[in-house]
Symmetry: C2
Subunit: 509 residues, 2 copies
């Protein structure tokens, strides 16, 4: 097979302008997979946005039930094709096939699609469209689809549950009635292709407009910028690294379009002295496990642990280092990630952090890196807040050893915006001055505040917030996980003033 096709306007089509080709790799072996995929140019994106615009117009008057049925049928088809999907995902990501991909991520993906379907059917005042009816003034409003295409740019780390064509951003954008152009991540194109084909069949079976779901994998930044500036493109959703995210955010902002960027987060944990005294080893086991989960490739990996006292820091460091030294090297998603984490570890060392475990490139084949632990002191952390807040995407964490409660408070105050923050405490801390001050500092800088719970599990429930202040995400008022909130990101607030009842949408009568 030369270059695989693109999903354009309901059919697999060959790229017209192949600028280059790329292949995914098997991270276990470092060998390239067989299928070559195209890096496409503007003419293909132009075909996609044209088909998407047509779909947006048609979707504006389609009965929502059809959208709900699409989401459900798509979930069914993913389950029917689960063996092939999980096999491809395992081959392209090295994430565990049986447990992680098969038993956790795939059901989470189909569950999200079905939750989106349920949200489409919920036309109550607390549903995503929030119908607000003032019969006296004859003024009514609700959230509606944006009237254009949503570009969803997917990350590398969740090939199913955050995939641009099957994840929460996708399900949310579709639930609001928008067509999606998905940009799959180049690290797992075969997986994305299989998902896209299930979506294509579901679109056809249910009878949605043919341009409702489209897919490409790779295009130059300038063509993606041109797509974002196109009048038919209504919004952008991005999950990934900060430098790519900020570049695309700038383009989106300049075009005056809503953009939702989930970028990076260090997810600080503060270990209170009381909790350390009560069960340091229990904490160490949970923290180490949470760092290593999914090879540390979680947006919510707890990358920093703040403690008071060098002795405690050393004891914790030893407990973690022992675990890390006894672990196999982790397989990362791409060679680039291995380079990036290794460079990050060196930069942190140059800035004053000490290496306690790992940190050397793996000798084994494939894309591997050892579980790595660093330590710095509170003063270094707060005096070089930029250098010390470098995200290490992979199995690595850093202990910040503070001298005193004051030092801890000052270190926490330089933290940037985070997806999550956690206090590990005992009941005796509650109401105490230290605990309260830490709460006051952490609460406004994160989307999700946890107590005695590692942040790596993100439940897909309405009360979840997967978002946070900049630079963790681009807007503190939204979540990318949890219906119906995640859906409203892709909606416009629209009012009908003086419109006769017979001309109103059904949910506003």
């Amino acid at each position: 097979m030369a270059t695989a096709s693109l999903l354009i306007d309901g059919a697999w089509q060959d790229a017209q302008a192949v600028l280059d080709t790329f292949r995914s790799f098997n991270p276990q072996t470092g060998e390239a997979n067989s299928t070559a995929f195209p890096v496409i140019g503007w003419s293909d994106l132009d075909r996609m946005i044209a088909a998407g615009e047509t779909a947006a117009g048609e979707l504006a008057s389609i009965e929502p039930e059809r959208i709900a049925r699409f989401l459900e049928r798509y979930a069914d088809l993913i389950e029917e094709r689960r063996e092939a999907i999980v096999e491809a995902a395992q081959r392209e990501t090295a994430l565990g096939a049986a447990l992680r991909l098969g038993e956790i991520e795939l059901p989470r993906t189909t569950g999200q699609l079905r939750q989106a379907a349920a949200a489409v059917r919920d036309t109550s005042a607390t549903g995503w469209s929030t119908p607000t009816i003032d019969t006296e003034a004859n003024i009514r409003s609700r959230y509606e689809s944006l009237g254009g295409v949503v570009l969803v740019i997917g990350p590398n780390n969740f090939p199913l549950a955050f995939n641009a064509i099957s994840g929460s951003d996708f399900a949310s954008a579709i639930a609001a009635g928008n067509p999606v152009i998905a940009k799959g991540h180049p690290a797992h194109p075969e997986t994305t292709q299989l998902l896209a084909d299930a979506a294509r069949v579901a679109v056809e079976e249910v009878g949605l407009p043919s341009g409702t779901v489209q897919l490409f994998h790779h295009a130059p930044p300038e063509d993606i910028a041109r797509l974002i500036g196109h009048p038919g493109l209504a919004a952008v959703a991005f999950t990934g690294g900060q430098s790519a995210g900020l570049a695309i955010k700038k383009t989106t902002d300049a075009a005056g379009k809503p953009g939702y960027f989930e970028m990076s987060s260090l997810n600080p944990v503060v270990l209170m002295p009381s909790a350390a005294a009560e069960d340091l080893d229990g904490f160490a086991a949970l923290w180490a496990q949470s760092i290593q989960m999914g090879s540390g490739q979680f947006c919510t990996k707890p990358g920093l642990c703040f403690v008071i006292g060098q002795e405690l820091a050393d004891t914790l460091g030893e407990a973690i280092a022992t675990r890390f030294d006894a672990s196999d090297d982790s397989v990362l998603l791409t060679e680039g990630l291995v380079d990036s984490i290794d460079r990050g570890v060196r930069e942190l060392q140059d800035a004053g952090a000490i290496l306690l475990a790992g940190g050397a490139n793996s000798e084994e084949p494939g894309f591997r890196y050892p579980s790595t632990l660093l330590m710095c002191n509170g003063r270094t952390f707060r005096e070089m807040p930029g250098s010390m807040q470098r995200e290490l995407f992979g199995p690595a964490g850093m202990i910040v050893a503070c001298d005193s409660e004051e030092d801890l408070g000052a270190a926490l105050r330089v933290l940037e915006g985070q997806l999550t923050a956690c206090i590990w405490a005992t009941e005796s801390d509650h109401g105490g001055e230290l605990y309260e001050e830490i709460r006051r500092t952490l609460r406004p800088i994160c989307g999700r505040l946890l107590e005695n719970k590692m942040p790596t599990g993100v439940a897909v429930v309405p009360s979840m917030v997967h978002g946070g202040p900049y630079p963790a995400s681009s807007h503190p008022g939204f979540t990318s996980v949890g219906m119906p909130g995640s859906i409203r990101r892709f909606a416009a607030l629209r009012c009908y003033d003086g419109v006769p009842e017979s001309r109103l949408p059904a949910t506003l009568v």
Copy 2:
């Protein structure tokens, strides 16, 4: 009086760095009012943001009832001081004292403050904070204050109801628990000063943090940019013209902070042939009145009317021109607005529009401009969409004479994002192809769709949407008028995961 003081940290203070001074003018006479106000530099803004940061921290744990009481007491004080406030506003804006300012805008302002107070007290699932409680997973979320200061930049055209220190953005930001730094409009500083003093007294009486409400009137763009980039500044709200708005939006976007910009809108009206046939003169009377209301200085002024057929366009043009020619020149808010509308009329003429009434600078004293009517054809409009969509802020409108239904459809499709759009139709149109196509075109490009109703009245009700797609506003999912929606703009979505019940906010238990 030399230079009036700034409201900083609960007290009227002198500016430390007076870069320049300015005075407001009486638009009726063109003469400067007596008080000189300071153009301030960074050191004063620095004092304000420091006091604001302290207030933000204190407000995070204050009982909401106190915020509600502040909003109500402030409304009471505005009413107690209404005579002085209306007198100053009339002198600085030339808007009608008795009716417009006294009977409409002031009660609207106090009503908005009281609605905000009621919204503060509403802790239900449909209230602004939207508490979402999942007891099984022990995950809860709600909207909370941002944790920093909101900068509110007010417009020139509503000295009370949209004033940076008393309007909807102010009331909304305060209701969400944020301190506000208000930048009053330099066209009506004396009015703003009187309002600010009422706010100051209410803050003191109710016992809110002293930095909750602060005020300045004028500072260089680079210092305002520095304020927006300051870590203590959490969000920006702006109502005003497009070029100033876009410059401040760029700074806000780059800082990664939420910004809500309401800029400009042409508010197109489509006059259906049937409605023209039924009562052209009735329509002409309403359109002319809506254009002239408040000297045409409304964000929702219906600036464009699309008709089919040159004969109808000519008849409508004559009806409007007759009314405009018989009207006194309108008094505009500033000399700059007179220059701007006059330049805009010339530019539209240069681009192919024909002048049917007004268009000449007034000979009378003060800042005046005659009611002005232009006409262009559909082809000119759609071939030069940029030039022809120039906002004329003042008593001016343009008829777009289309050749055919196709020409009308094509002209409407080049329209930029609008706050409002209106169809003037009869029942016989409903369900017809032309009506449906117009609806399909107008619905996604505006926040508020009207039928047989001019858009200049903006009811302050929960179902109102005062917002719309870019460039009318910076995000299509929000409204600046109508609680509780307007409040959520200034809130962060925050989750509590695994937090013991005793440590949860009261509304999440």
